[in-house]
Symmetry: C4
Subunit: 485 residues, 4 copies
């Protein structure tokens, strides 16, 4: 390849996009559509040096891991013009960057942040648009995303009165590990896009609060660095993505076990990446903001091919699409002594299969509405297990995530049989808005909401949160946002 | 403490808030969040003398009762500057005060007030914002608040025709006492925030109308003064909050009995205060109106602690959180001969326990949606008792409150088995808008709506309001506000 | 009484309202709230001569019939000033009158009127606001009004194919009389408020179209005049309001029978008048348009009394509130040989009682949502009769009205067992918008919609409209207005 | 007839509309209301020569086929003025035409078109309003149109995990013919209104993509020309409208068979044309845009007749309204050896009759909500067949169309038992927006959405799409449009 800056500069848009990182040249054209941070941030550096933007927010070797050898074009051939070119084309501040800067100064004081909706609102204002889109996107028309949350609205309480609640203890155990609340951090990766210290913000806040954090294979902070930030009393779980390279995955598992992670949450709902249109569109939204809208011209290359860029997602899929009950769990058992939890169980049938497969837990989840559109809301799956196969609860621990935003949401899930509930996006919003202080605030809000609601429900401990104090109603409650910041 | 005006003046915001009342100095920092009228009205006087605002609207000793000894800082140390300072910083009229003044002049004539929705609209226009927020707030996202009202929409009538209704009598008996309507005043405290004569407006209007008023432990007019305003024929009930100081509570009960109150409604749904965000936010709304929005700064004290100010609510809880079936009711029986009603029963199970405990009545209520979020709407609880345990109606009287705004709402509850229904907020709105005349108007509207609807339903008396003339439908009627003032 | 123009001029508002009609003076203060055309039109002439407005649109003696003797104050005492005063205070054109004049010129051509929604839209634009309010108002929050119409949305068709439908006959018989469609004119009175020829517009259009008109006791055109306009082949039914003066009612019935009316529809759902707030408010809306908003002043007479003006409705009720199964039907049988239909049956139980009482038919109706709020939608009552007591259909004819606006609505009701359906408001809107031509158009639209839909449903005649081609679904279809004029 | 240009010019509006095409004169007054492209496009040429507009977009003889002999007025009598007149009245560009021209330039590039909703949005912007109205219109209030789509929202998936899906094959067979997706082109006629090459755009795109196209009797491109564009491997089906002229229909069938069409889809849900008001109104919308709104005048001819122009639809109906199980299918069998599918089955009962009649397939369809209003959504009919008569699936192939816009919609229908699903409007929108490239894009999107969703559902082939992975839920999911172009 001709890796001169002259040649590189020609590959400066989505049809062919090359970038320079630390004097190496990469063809990221196909990678654009699967970049977790959205394509726009890459395209900003298309045809030029992206080191300054890439370096602070990615673990070493991230890009190489995600590209095929043929996409690593080789070392930059420096010519005298290189430095000049960068000088001539200084990166200007975009509309979006100006907005972020402005909104950062307008964040309310922490004591005015009353609930997780407030935190989300603030985060959405201060995040770069592509990151906001990446964090918040759901699949297709976002039915599962919306219904995950709405499912909680249909459950009402049978509040019990005249029960002593001066002492009220919301703590519990998850896989035998102490947790000060029946809550854990679920699948919140790519945190570095929201805050330079990324997932560490969560680790530090959770340590003091005695909350368990699940750390993703693709965490934007190296998993060793996160483990190093643990308090002695702190528990971390590891969210595993099995990739097609089984040996590489095994290495990751052993490393996690050695680093002190206490359980493996095997992701089973993401054999391919869901169709998240808000995320894909974010680049074009940015272009419009900059007044650079593109229009169709006759002869559009797409007009003569039926291989859309998006098909590339399948061709370049890194996740192992061939997980199976028969092989995957025995294999995982063979390489680790840690308890195994399946993350992404979406129906009663698979909950039963998981129990039969002998795993220690299942996390009912549709990946926050980011994978299969129209996947049942996890709370509805939990309810169905309770109705149809209550024996499952005796055979393993059941968790859920997706749509949980209030202390009462947590309590409803516990009443239906969950051991604990996971939250994902709220942690990303919290650290994006206020860093570690935001995560502390979030946990503080949850603790307060859970404790007040338990008392008003007549519950002095988690054991009092039983099926009999919750009821699924047959009408459609109206959801409305109250107040605003 | 250094109670000089210089020192006091330094404690002039929410982080540390001192005020002077009648030459005594108080630290009300922690009290801010539990002030029934909202924190903003206090903060306006932070660091200065609040006597002129406090005195006209609080019973004597109110503040002392609500503060711990360590928060009573002692007498003001007068210096020569005191008067000066107050002169220098005259309290200016706020945007909100100007709005109230303007709207008071624009109230419609009473004969144009057609329904309780009109009264609420007018009251919300003429009330100071923090009071409006305090009166109207529900918990969290206000699901229970909204669903309380919407529950009535699902019940339709089987109107019966060809029944003589020239004589139509909506009167009934509540615990043996005459009531001209199957309606009573429920839990409407802090009335003084809406009108200088507070709960007395209700007392006077109800006397002539033969309606029973339930007077709260925390009424803003002393309960003796209310009792003194009773007509000879008039009945008052007493709403009891048991506080942790049992002896003090016993004293209150005996005093109420001696003053002639005829029943004790023991509040059982408020062992801690619900999370009413609209109320909490009201201060900041006011600040924004005045152009004094605050922003986050690095080093925000909340950023380094996980004890939010709101946790203080629990630390300073005055209500007894350890009520119990075994102890509380026998204790209450031992100190009073009055009939006992449990206010705040929220499910069938507790209705049965109440019957077994031998109380004379239960008030199905979720505190107007101000306590436990997602608590079932009282009308739905009533319906479930009727379906599942109709024997309860033979063992005690059942009342409900929450969301009742129309004569047909009252009738629906009576048809399902309630002896009478309580209204709370509507009375506060009525007196806030028009004082005693507003309360008279409200009762007049209810009487008219109940009587017309009973006739059209073919009912000549309360006995004709039976289960067979009401039906719970399986669709979702559309609620829409008709007309406007 | 001092019936001089000077004295009369003092009684010029709602607190005391006198008017002159044909040199007689009347105190209409109490009558204001029950005037079918709304109070505003009267108040415009308060304190002065209303003859010019009254005379063209009321049958002779209307006012005397509706007032008590004490409200007829006697003959006008003419003074020299009378004429002068009227000259000095010419009645100006109001905002509303100007709007009506403007909109009348902007009506679309008839061939652009596609459906009954169009007709309603046009009528609402060209009607004086108080008349529009009187025609369109429902009770309280208008739940029954809205749900009457929405009930039809829940019924879907099982369209049958491969059935010959070149011949398609929508004609039927009602009480043995031919009707070209399974549709009749129900309860559309006070038509003169919308068009100077009032109900005659309907009579003429229905004659040619072979549609039966039900004429109200309180028709704004004398019933004899309507009868005189009948074609020889035409059928009229009579809607009877029984008033407390039984002898007077008997006289009315005999007169109707003699005039050739073929059935008596006894109104049973209107023993008192429903609470129609839009109607009551219409005066104040007009005042606001004219910039004459009134405000509350301390000392408002309503503030010191609990007898609101609206209570007067009950005191002055003209309808007999003591109808009964035992007495009313035998009495009616004793005075007429005509078939008897009960108009306003609202539940299965009363449908059964009607069958047992031996009447010839029942009209399931809640008076278009104008009487008891939350009365079940008639279509739902029809469905329940079909489900629970199908024997009723063998014992009498069943009709329904309320919310019918489309040919498919008509067909759904027939499928569920109705012999025919009534429409009321649409006829008033049609004649208000275009006079007789509007009514012709309305019938033409219905005929077209019914015929097309029958064919597409595979039905060649009314006999093919059976229970098996309709299904009540368990979800909530979305209603949305398509297109606009 | 006086076919001079002077005379013709007098017939220049909807009351009498003559046009000249290739020197022949036609009276199209009655035809206006049934013109598939809407009346406005014709009226633009009322009283003048329409050849230039007609010729490029209609098959030869189209107009003659649709007019009665008496409406073919004969050859134009040329006078010296003819050319002059056309010169004097040049056709100006309308507001709508200017909009179309503008929007054509603003279409987004194809790689930014993410879903079928995008395609529809773009098409609606670039289509002439009357064509957009004709394509998109549903019957009456469009309940069936909306509910067709909403029906899919109520079905959720039980996603299965741990199933190998690296190989994922969405191909299937339809009536024995290969299809690369369980999708075919259903009932998309009049394509020439959206693009000059009309249905050929679909034919060409489907050939490469191995998708079967159903070609309509009334395709705007001659069926022979479409057949000639087929690839050797390509399959076409023929959508037959039986007209009253049975012999002519037989000729059409034989011609289709000879041209290589592989199945006859007999349309059974369109014995008359549905009431599509948006389509009818489109002319008037155009008039308003041009500032030429018409108003009612007394003496409107419609005012004195009860034969509205719209009744003409019935008088001039070309479709055979007398299809029957007994005669139509045997007749069709007698003239063709092709498999027969009934298009437009709308209930379980008729699905059973079809099975008994021995046809090879049924297409559950309500004509895209364009025929009988309130016809059950096809997906609900499919669900009922599965619940009530699963034997039907063993006796013939079942397809559905109506409301399908996402890969998950397709999968849901297959899970419930459909062999394949049809899409109609989306193909018209795709070719209107981008011609053949748009259709390629559409198929590409569907393939991608289906494949991703199958994998996430744990399905490696169509056989894995079973009843057990889909569930009809009992609540109402909220539909909301995400993102925009």
């Amino acid at each position: 390849m001709d890796c001169t800056t002259e040649e590189i500069a020609k590959h400066n848009d989505a049809s062919s996009c090359w970038i320079i990182i630390k004097n190496e040249v990469y063809d990221v054209t196909e990678f654009l559509s699967i970049h977790p941070g959205g394509p726009s941030i890459i395209l900003k550096y298309a045809g030029s040096d992206a080191t300054s933007a890439y370096d602070p927010i990615h673990p070493p070797d991230t890009i190489q891991k995600n590209l095929s050898p043929s996409q690593c074009l080789g070392p930059l051939i420096t010519t005298t013009n290189t430095t000049d070119r960068k000088d001539r084309v200084p990166v200007e501040q975009t509309q979006d960057e100006m907005r972020v800067e402005r909104e950062m100064k307008r964040r309310p004081p922490l004591n005015r942040v009353l609930n997780l909706g407030d935190i989300e609102d603030i985060a959405k204002r201060v995040l770069p648009y592509p990151v906001q889109a990446f964090y918040s996107a759901g699949t297709d028309d976002e039915f599962s995303l919306r219904e995950n949350a709405r499912a909680f609205d249909r459950f009402f309480f049978h509040a019990r009165v005249m029960r002593p609640v001066s002492s009220c203890d919301p703590s519990t155990k998850i896989l035998g590990y102490d947790s000060s609340l029946p809550v854990f951090v679920s699948g919140a990766a790519q945190a570095i896009l929201g805050h330079p210290e990324g997932e560490l913000n969560i680790t530090r806040a959770c340590g003091n609060a005695s909350i368990i954090q699940m750390v993703c294979t693709f965490a934007s902070i190296p998993r060793a660095q996160i483990a190093a930030a643990m308090l002695p009393s702190q528990t971390l779980f590891f969210q595993l993505y099995k990739i097609t390279d089984t040996a590489a995955t095994a290495k990751v598992v052993r490393e996690a076990e050695e680093l002190g992670y206490k359980a493996i949450f095997l992701t089973v709902d993401a054999v391919v990446v869901g169709n998240r249109e808000k995320d894909v569109r974010s680049l074009w939204v940015m272009e419009e903001q900059e007044g650079k809208t593109q229009y169709y011209v006759e002869g559009d290359p797409e007009a003569t091919t039926n291989l859309s860029g998006s098909s590339a997602v399948n061709r370049r899929n890194v996740f192992d699409p061939d997980l199976s009950w028969k092989e995957t769990i025995p294999w995982l058992r063979s390489i680790t002594k840690l308890p195994i939890v399946l993350k992404g169980i979406q129906c009663v049938e698979d909950a039963v299969l998981a129990a039969e497969a002998g795993v220690e837990g299942i996390l009912l989840s549709n990946h926050g509405g980011r994978q299969l559109e129209s996947s049942l809301p996890p709370l509805e799956v939990l309810y169905r297990i309770r109705q149809q196969r209550p024996d499952v609860f005796d055979r393993l621990e059941v968790y859920i995530d997706g749509g949980i935003r209030r202390g009462t949401d947590v309590i409803k899930a516990i009443c239906l049989g969950a051991t604990a509930v996971g939250l994902g996006r709220p942690f990303l919003y919290a650290l994006s808005a206020y860093g570690e202080a935001g995560v502390i605030k979030l946990l503080d809000i949850l603790r307060r909401e859970i404790t007040i609601s338990m008392r008003l429900l007549g519950a002095a401990s988690i054991r009092d949160l039983t099926l009999e104090v919750v009821e699924r109603v047959d009408w459609e409650p109206v959801r409305r946002r109250i107040g605003k910041l």
